[in-house]
């Protein structure tokens, strides 16, 4: 397990930190309120993993992959996962409500204005810069995720094959995961000679 000196808070992965519901509401509410222009998962990772230390990068990125196999918006999925991870069912509910309420109100109001007055062209100019920055956020996550996930040539190849399958072959994301996942899991399968897995005991069924 590589220790990254940049990360100040690294919680023990088996016991998520105790987080108050108010903190969850504020956290996801703020993200929901300022989540314009995409690149949101980068944003959630920076705040939840790097700044708050609520979960490790390993937990975050594997949960992200799982969320992408399932249907639905990625951002909502990862929020529900983090909420559940920290506070169970209540946490998941609070996360979902908090991340959805601000955009719901904002988008509904804009929709009403649109039907009342017609389209506002200024919003397009506003979005130009925001999406550019969102792109920068997303690109930064490529570097950080790469740093965490590459431990050998195999991992580099998986990253490239995934990218090519999605971009060039236009394969749907969940097919890519279902195709490459089993191969990668087999490659990284538990091996008895690995010392870090030694204390793990399989449940013996007699």
């Amino acid at each position: 397990m590589s220790k990254n000196p940049d990360i100040t808070v690294e919680p023990a992965s088996d016991t998520p930190p105790r987080v108050s519901l108010w903190e969850l509401i504020f956290f996801f509410g703020l993200i929901g309120l300022t989540s314009f222009g995409g690149g949101l998962t980068a944003y959630i990772r920076r705040l939840a993993v790097t700044q708050k230390g609520w979960l490790t990068d390993e937990e975050f990125f594997s949960a992200l992959a799982i969320v992408q196999i399932l249907p639905g918006a990625r951002v909502v999925g990862i929020s529900v996962y983090i909420g559940n991870h920290l506070r169970g069912l209540v946490g998941a509910t609070v996360a979902l409500l908090s991340i959805m309420t601000p955009p719901f109100i904002l988008v509904s109001c804009l929709g009403l204005l649109y039907f009342h007055y017609g389209e506002n062209t200024d919003s397009k100019a506003l979005l130009a810069g925001v999406t550019a920055v969102a792109c920068g956020l997303m690109a930064s996550m490529v570097f950080e995720a790469g740093q965490k996930s590459i431990r050998g040539l195999f991992d580099v190849m998986m990253i490239l094959i995934t990218f090519l399958l999605v971009r060039l072959a236009h394969l749907h994301v969940q097919y890519v995961i279902l195709l490459l996942g089993p191969i990668a899991i087999w490659w990284h399968r538990p091996r008895p000679d690995k010392k870090d897995e030694a204390p793990e005991q399989k449940e013996a069924v007699s």
Binding site: F61, L64, A92, V107, D155, T162
Partner: protein, 180 residues
């Protein structure tokens, strides 16, 4: 009115659990249903509403506006109720699925396979993020100012601990002033 609510719930619950690969994949189906099947809006209105919806929130916030428009004929209060019904129907089923799978995944933590799957999934996740960044770049980096803003944001993220909320708000301000 009740019938419209029923149509909204039925349509969006199906779209919710069939949106494999994120919300955007069901966009063509949504357009077909909202414009040609239910005649809730014109094609141009649909495109305009999509443009509004990407301002804030997760992808597929356009369902909120489709719900709003579908019930607009009954007045603004019912329209907002319609928006709420559509949003819940779209985001609740997929969230319940994540909750169930997420709990199962977390409860599996003691198995050595958990570590294997985590390590296996991280490079795939990285590749998907790379693809997503590439797509966003193609739609957002058009001019030299936007390229500079993207690069500055990347450097700030990599080399400082600046809160991304501040970056997003600053970007909105800068483009409001200079790119208009």
């Amino acid at each position: 009115m009740i019938q419209t609510f029923g149509h909204l719930v039925a349509l969006f619950m199906i779209l919710s659990i069939s949106a494999f690969g994120g919300g955007k994949v069901v966009l063509p189906t949504l357009q077909e249903q909202a414009v040609n099947h239910y005649h809730w809006m014109t094609n141009q209105q649909f495109v305009d509403l999509f443009g509004i919806s990407i301002i804030d929130g997760p992808s597929m916030m356009v369902v909120t506006l489709v719900g709003l428009k579908a019930c607009m004929q009954y007045g603004y209060v019912i329209a907002i109720l319609g928006a709420l019904v559509a949003t819940v129907a779209m985001f609740l089923p997929s969230s319940i699925l994540v909750l169930i799978v997420g709990r199962f995944w977390d409860s599996w933590k003691t198995s050595p396979w958990h570590e294997s799957i985590q390590r296996a999934m991280m490079p795939i996740s990285t590749g998907l993020i790379l693809a997503a960044a590439y797509i966003i770049a193609r739609h957002s980096i058009h001019t030299i100012p936007t390229a500079i803003m993207g690069l500055v944001a990347l450097c700030l993220m990599l080399f400082t601990k600046l809160n991304p909320v501040i970056m997003i708000v600053a970007a909105a301000g800068i483009s409001w002033v200079f790119l208009r």
